[in-house]
């Protein structure tokens, strides 16, 4: 079974990924310029794809009365130890409320007080009933007139004379090979899960926080095309309810849970008094939990014993779970009589630009370093804590920039048939091999080596030069071995492309981790050999570019205000 059919499509703006950022980009482009052709390339079906498939119960980035873009920036800087792109964070903060208003108009139910103001959830959040948020966004895209190409996964960018002029895609059901030419390309695929070994074994291996089908393709296609990436050493490790990896904010912020150790002590206060990172709440809550475990006072819990059984508060809590974490609702279902505590632990590390800040190095207009390519959402770096509403803002900005640039002299470029055939050969090769490695085995090899040598769950997220060098060596061999991937059908062929993408992302992660010789973000980036934070040397970004000829990764340091 070898794919042969080639589909050629021309469009003006191609958006890779129909999630939060991609949907907003499409609506923005079609609203501003209804005549412009705009197409979303989507790996799944846009109604329920990616991070938002489960729904959301909270929008974490919103400016309540009295808050300003500047106060939001101060918060993000504090949380990320000052290494953030101020221009990007400010541009996001300025657009948050307008984006939320728009989605409310599209149909998202948002909790309001008697005066019609959104009810705060935590300091910067609002409570939403977002079970159907993804279908609501998809409907807005359909109304806008943008085209949606469902079930096509990007395999590489098309680059001609230094400019991105489209993308190649693989039909995930039918194995068709797509050649999509565009005047401008917006990458909005989301970040990467599955680079590290999952915390759960067996049937639970995909009960992870981040969408298992966000495999880092958006990063990988940029890396392979020589785009500059930033902050891949800023891995995102989440403090989650053990087993189901459900967000803890719903419990702590939404239901008032206390974070306690095995002895029932509220341990955050103890560390809070004098710990140097106490102002960075997200890292601090996870680090304190790791320290309690290391001191023999684990496991740690979120204690909900104040929620009376059958009370209005408990019912509200369950509603929040259904809107975002159905597995948590099941976890809670059997607990009618007994334990009202939920064990918490760190997740496997992810690579994301929405909670963390790993991604494309972009300018404030969301241009990447490759002409013709723009980035928004989780795949865009330097602006952490943008979450879903910040991704909406970035999608709008990226679409505006792409529109301005293509309305000028840019025309569709003829694509050399040689590069089309080369890519088609690469993508379909696993179907032609009679023997070789299956994608699942290679994925487990990758996840195992990253877990052990690049600071996964079993290594308690800790890093050292020696182990990272081992990881580098194993990854080089693994990358060679991707040449022997074999697939027995289209579904497995997609898995083969996914593991290649994950390996390319992992290589960049390891090079970034090796380069930053300090400990800036606990658990996210904890160097055993450089345990201190060093502001004199490392108040800067670690960036990288892959040499498209040799495959070598070159590290670059960039100042905070470059």
């Amino acid at each position: 079974m070898v794919t042969t059919e080639v589909i050629n499509i021309d469009t003006d703006i191609l958006i890779i990924g129909g999630g939060a950022a991609g949907c907003f980009a499409a609506v923005e482009a079609k609203t501003r310029e209804p005549e412009v052709r705009c197409m979303i390339m989507e790996k799944a079906h846009i109604d329920r794809s990616g991070c938002l498939a489960m729904g959301l119960n909270s929008i974490n980035a919103y400016l309540h009365p009295g808050q300003t873009p500047e106060s939001y920036l101060d918060y993000v800087k504090g949380e990320f130890m000052d290494v953030v792109r101020e221009d990007l964070v400010l541009s996001i903060a300025e657009g948050l409320n307008d984006a939320v208003k728009r989605v409310e108009q599209w149909g998202l139910p948002i909790e309001k007080d008697d005066e019609g103001r959104y009810v705060p959830r935590g300091k910067r959040g609002i409570r939403v009933r977002g079970e159907r948020l993804k279908p609501i966004l998809a409907e807005a895209v359909r109304r806008s007139g943008a085209e949606v190409l469902n079930r096509v996964a990007a395999t590489n960018l098309i680059v001609s004379e230094g400019r991105v002029v489209g993308a190649f895609g693989l039909g995930v059901r039918d194995g068709r090979f797509y050649v999509i030419r565009a005047k401008g390309v917006i990458v909005a695929t989301g970040g990467a899960s599955g680079v590290y070994k999952p915390a759960n074994p067996g049937d639970g291996r995909h009960l992870i926080w981040y969408c298992p089908w966000n495999v880092g393709t958006g990063y990988a296609i940029g890396i392979r095309a020589g785009a500059e990436m930033t902050s891949f050493e800023n891995r995102f490790v989440a403090l989650r309810v053990k087993g189901v990896q459900a967000p803890t904010g719903t419990l702590a912020l939404g239901a008032g849970a206390r974070q306690v150790n095995a002895r029932g002590e509220a341990y955050l206060d103890k560390y809070y008094k004098d710990h140097p990172i106490r102002s960075a709440a997200t890292y601090f809550r996870l680090l304190a939990t790791m320290l309690e475990n290391a001191a023999g006072r684990g496991p740690c819990y979120l204690d909900l014993s104040h929620l009376d059984r059958g009370s209005r508060e408990e019912r509200r809590f369950k509603e929040d779970l259904l809107n975002m974490s159905p597995t948590m609702a099941l976890m809670w279902a059997g607990r009618n009589g007994g334990d009202r505590r939920l064990e918490i632990a760190g997740s496997e590390p992810y690579v994301v630009g929405g909670h963390g800040e790993a991604g494309y190095w972009i300018d404030v207009s969301r241009r990447t370093t490759l002409p013709g390519l723009y980035a928004a959402g989780d795949v865009a770096g330097g602006a952490p804590k943008k979450y879903v509403s910040g991704s909406w803002v970035e999608g709008r900005i990226a679409a505006g920039t792409a529109l301005e640039e293509i309305m000028g002299s840019v025309s569709t470029t003829d694509i050399d048939t040689g590069i089309v055939e080369a890519e088609r050969g690469r993508v379909t090769a696993p179907l032609r091999r009679d023997s070789g490695v299956c994608p699942q085995d290679m994925e487990e090899r990758l996840q195992g080596l990253m877990d052990e040598h690049a600071g996964g769950v079993s290594a308690r997220y800790e890093l050292s030069e020696e182990r990272l060098l081992v990881a580098r060596g194993l990854l080089a061999r693994l990358r060679d071995d991707t040449e022997s991937l074999r697939a027995s059908g289209h579904h497995e062929l997609v898995s083969a492309m996914e593991v290649v993408d994950r390996v390319d992302v992992a290589r960049v992660v390891v090079e970034h981790l090796l380069h930053r010789k300090e400990t800036r973000w606990p658990c996210s980036q904890s160097r055993l050999d450089y345990p201190e934070r060093d502001d004199n040397r490392w108040l800067k970004f670690v960036n990288s570019v892959m040499d498209t000829g040799t495959g070598d990764i070159r590290l670059v340091e960039r100042g905070l205000l470059e």
């Binding site: 799944a44 079906h45 109604d47 329920r48 794809s49 990616g50 498939a53 489960m54 409310e104 108009q105 599209w106 149909g107 998202l108 139910p109 009933r129 079970e131 159907r132 609501i136 409907e139 079930r151 995930v172 059901r173 759960n200 074994p201 067996g202 049937d203 639970g204 291996r205 995909h206 009960l207 992870i208 969408c211 298992p212 089908w213 087993g243 189901v244 369950k318 509603e319 259904l322 809107n323 159905p326 597995t327 609702a329 099941l330 976890m331 279902a333 059997g334 009618n336 579904h491 997609v494």
Partner: protein, 113 residues
């Protein structure tokens, strides 16, 4: 992970693409003989409940794998009721609890009708 109850499933009549097959974000549901939907390796499921909600006859339920919860008997179902979603949680003793939650603002969903 999800379970399809084949006593309830009607294969979406003779639809070429089944609803669960269409909506799964991981492309994990496919068809076997006579159009019955089947789940590819169940450990690939993210437990997002997209298929659970979209099944027009509520034939699909969500359970936690036994590796995660000893008491894996609890199950979850959901179905679309206009602008609301009806959820049913059944605990391991068979006791059920229902929730009917607004999922799309009413004014907007009426406009669309």
């Amino acid at each position: 992970m999800i379970t399809i109850d084949y006593d309830i499933c009607n294969r979406c009549g003779d639809a070429r693409e089944k609803r669960c097959e269409r909506i799964c974000p991981g492309n994990l549901i496919t068809q076997k003989d006579e159009g019955w939907p089947v789940v590819r390796p169940r450990e690939d499921c993210w437990a997002c409940t997209a298929c659970v909600k979209d099944c027009p006859v509520a034939a699909i339920s969500l359970r936690l794998p036994p590796q995660i919860k000893r008491d894996a008997g609890a199950s979850l179902k959901a179905s679309v009721r206009g602008n609301k979603t009806l959820w049913t949680i059944t605990d391991s003793r068979g006791k059920t609890e229902e929730f009917t939650l607004e999922a799309v603002r009413k004014s907007v969903s009426q406009k669309e009708d």
